[in-house]
Amino acid sequence: MDFFFIHLLNALLSAATLFLIAGGLSLIYGVMRIVNLAHGNLYAFGAYVTAWTLGRALAGAPTPLLYLALPAGAVGAALLGAVLEPTLLRPFYKRAEEYQLLVTFGLLMILGDVMHFVWGPYPLSASALWENSGSVSIAGNPYPNYNLVVIAIGGIAAAFLWFFVYKTRFGVVLRATSQNMRMASALGVDVNRMYVQAFTLGCFMAGLGGAIIVPSQSAVLDMGVDALVLSFIVVVIGGLGSLEGALVGALIVGVVREAGIAWFPEIELAVLYLMAAAVLLVRPAGLFGRAT
């Protein structure tokens, strides 16, 4: 039972990060109808910024200060998103989808090179926070307290996003823009402004995903592509453009990955891809997506 509980916590840990990345990807697609392939490296950018802030700029600082500085990566990714949307993406909205895919894929590559240039080829770690947070004993086995913090942040982020999108005025205008951009603009909604806000929020989520993961594992250059692939599996299962879908998809992928690591490690990724393929066959729009 305790063995099962630890695996459940690990699954939730994985799901918390995946939800933040896939939720941001889904939010951006839902509002702007752009599949942002650069999203993986915005997650990696958040990880690098937080790793640099905690591991270099604030090295040796007390733990509460490190916790306060943890969202630095999220803020960094959000600022980057606020610059990228109007300058690089906006000129391509009226072009065919393949141009948008090409430009976001190019951006994925460029961001990878920028991180390589700024932070070098070696992993950047900020494990002090993870180490200083201590551990709790579960059935005689130590379990890192920091992992519980990550799970809590994932849960709080999901609740905050649900409230933000469904219970605030901004959320209503955001949903209106996502459902009919032309009509929203004819009612006085500044669509360009909504787009930059939605993109910034999506990047903030990706950056937060990177920021919270980096104390327990180093920031490395290919982490963005790995995360992008996994978050695509999440949105294929949950439905691209749906936040509920991103949450349920992240939980499913988190549980299956953890089960895979425990019982069938050789075919862990194959099982995930097969699941995504099965969902595509049975429900092409995903579990929570709406067929168009």
């Binding site: 949903r175 459902q179 009919n180 032309r182 603009s185 004819a186 669509v191």
Partner: protein, 234 residues
């Protein structure tokens, strides 16, 4: 009030409007009649800023708005109800109405009196405020689209095919609503393919064919113009 001066509009490579000039005066109901594909919706979209002009200009209240974006035109007081109603399917009817309110901010809020005035056009809308746009009938969608455009406190209202697909008895109800809107001092421009409906509501008519205005005059005069009648009726 609202004036188009020799506008040319394209959709992709195809020129749809050719030197279209049109004027809507204060407290006036003007109908733009023409067959399907004549250029009615393109004219409305050009006024709303949803399509860019290649030539000509649009003025509103004496101000040149040709280069303004759609949201800026809406905020100046141009209300718009499109042919497909444009109801946000996942929002409730009430949320559909609140969008303009929230954008204007509390200082310019419509207020309870304002809402009573808006709902006086279609009081039946109050009965389905909590229903989602997805679950409305065709007639209800048209009512919501017009009421929603009224929440902008417009000085001119652009209605694209407001009577299309409605039963004759319901059309009468909508014509009554347009009369109520006009009585509030709001100008109305209606794109309409049914000439009889148009003459029931319009103070003045424009007829459009193949992107060109072919008639401008009083409703009673259009019936005497055989060339225009032949063109409109096909």
């Amino acid at each position: 009030m609202l004036e188009l001066e020799r506008i040319d509009t394209f959709r992709g490579q195809a020129q749809i409007l050719r030197t279209v000039s049109l004027r809507v005066g204060e407290r006036e109901a003007v109908c733009l009649v023409g067959r399907n594909g004549a250029g009615k919706t393109t004219t409305i979209d050009s006024i709303m800023g949803l399509l860019p002009l290649r030539a000509g200009r649009v003025t509103f209240g004496g101000r040149d708005i040709t280069r303004l974006a759609a949201h800026q035109r809406a905020r100046l007081g141009i209300g718009y109800a499109p042919e497909d109603c444009g109801i946000f399917p996942d929002l409730t009817v009430e949320e559909n109405f609140q969008i303009t309110e929230w954008l204007k901010g509390p200082a310019a809020a419509v207020g309870d009196d304002g809402y009573e005035r808006i709902f006086s056009v279609f009081p039946e809308v109050k009965g389905f405020l909590t229903r989602r746009g997805l679950h409305l009938s065709g007639g209800q969608k048209k009512m919501v689209a017009i009421t929603r455009a009224m929440t902008l406190s417009p000085t001119v209202l652009l209605l694209d095919e407001p009577f299309e697909g409605l039963a004759p008895v319901v059309v009468s109800r909508f014509i009554e609503a347009v009369t109520t809107i006009k009585a509030m001092g709001i100008s109305v421009l209606i794109a309409e393919s049914n000439l009889v409906n148009a003459t029931r509501v319009a103070d003045r008519l424009y007829a459009i064919d193949r992107g060109e205005i072919i008639f401008n005059g009083l409703p009673r005069d259009v019936f005497a113009n055989h060339d225009v009648m032949r063109t409109i009726r096909g």
